[in-house]
Symmetry: C2
Subunit: 243 residues, 2 copies
DNA sequence: GGGTGTGAAGCTATTCACAGCC
DNA sequence: GGCTGTGAATAGCTTCACACCC
């Protein structure tokens, strides 16, 4: 890759001068939710301290994050709730409507289709797809479930932007490839499987058993902490207790 | 905090000499899954290159991660699949059984209760709880749903280690506080709400709409990339195209 | 020869602390 | 006086590249 094409690629990935760090992007939805909460309470202006508290982060991080989007606050005063909310919405792209398809209408697919928060502003579940011919035609969350054969047709006709994989693990890779072939470049995977995508396609995963395992890792260490002390640490403990 | 008590605290949080980085902990479940896949295929020995490919990470990262656990490979050969799998299982704490309670048996709670991969080795859904008295008594996934009033009793009697919150957003904080008061220190939150926990309690969250919003952010930039070029970037593009 | 384990380098993210502006 | 916005400092994570061992 030449120097030119490299810097071009970087530039093309964001419309903001220096690009917003990925860690910041991941927190924008959190700020948006906090601002919505405050707006509902009738709060018109908020300091970084208060907003950070509501969002569950520290204020320095919040200010740094917001500074990547622009200079939307007023020194000595704070941020105007509605104004900031609008700016973040626009930055994320929630001012337009994103059509979502869910593939795999088992227990989880059902729950996702019916999940209200999932269909919050900006997203619209446009189609449900399942590989089981018996399930096709069934109505779920006000939509008729369609058969997998129709995937490509559904994606192009309904202008789907985001695919959600809620199939069993063994079907995930194949479904993903068909989504990509159909032109989808944003995929959310709930199947407990490693799924590979070509460059240019964004894949995020939500993995329930991974989350549990991370909790278990820490839980194990909490319970065993006293027993896990080395001799050296025990000496320190004794010192600390003595004062 | 004195120097002694500080270093003691750090030491007590892990049983491994230098502590395993959080980013590494988050990937261990991934490696475990990859090893299971390989074991099912009858693979006995694997190189870091192959294992990394199966897990969807690069090999340098994999080797570094594994090095925090110990020296489990053989130079010039690779890793023994079963042996490494056992080591990681033990590290995560899957050699013991963790009892899980799910609070909120709506669409999502139902799906979680029935989700097979969720109840994979090491975890056991031990109780289901809902605030709706009409739902109490109903049978879901082979368990009788119990009423919220019984939460504390259930937690202590069944020796629950992990709480899963699948309630509406408005109930999440109160449920969380009751779980903590009942002695639970590991919580997985599915409710789209900011939940605060005291120090010492691990809270992880799975947020469907956040994930969608992150995808939307990137999707927006892909579509608009050509239009979002600055004059300077356009010049570079022209150069790159010319060769 | 081949592949692990790991210091060192490079990169990204967080936190500090204060200049600058209202 | 108060609070934002941000360089500078720090911490944490990833990647490199090769010594070391089988």
């Amino acid at each position: 890759m030449t120097r030119h094409s490299r810097s071009l690629t970087q530039a093309a990935q964001s419309s903001v001068p220096r690009g917003v760090p990925e860690a910041t992007v991941a927190r924008l939805p959190l700020y948006l939710r906090a601002l919505t909460t405050l707006a509902e309470r009738g709060v018109a202006t908020v300091s970084s301290e208060e907003l950070a508290e509501t969002a569950g982060v520290n204020s320095a991080k919040l200010r740094k994050d917001l500074s990547y989007l622009g200079s939307y606050g007023t020194r000595g005063v704070g941020y105007e709730v509605d104004f900031l909310r609008h700016q973040i919405s626009r930055e994320i792209g929630l001012t337009q409507d994103w059509a979502v398809v869910i593939i795999g209408i088992g227990n989880l697919g059902h729950a996702l289709a019916n999940y209200g928060g999932f269909a919050s502003r900006g997203f619209r579940i446009a189609a449900l797809i399942d590989a089981d011919p018996n399930r096709a035609g069934e109505e779920v969350a006000g939509l008729k479930v369609r058969h997998s054969d129709e995937l490509e047709k559904v994606v192009s006709e309904l202008n789907i932007a985001i695919g959600v994989i809620a199939t069993p693990a063994r079907a995930a890779q194949a479904v993903c490839e068909r989504l990509v072939a159909a032109g989808i470049t944003s995929i959310l995977n709930f199947a407990p499987a490693v799924v590979q995508v070509p460059p240019g396609v964004d894949l995020r995963k939500v993995d329930l058993s991974t989350e549990l395992q991370i909790l278990a890792y820490h839980e194990q260490r909490k319970n065993g902490s006293a027993l896990a002390l080395t001799a050296e640490q025990a000496v320190e403990l004794a010192k600390a207790v003595r004062g």
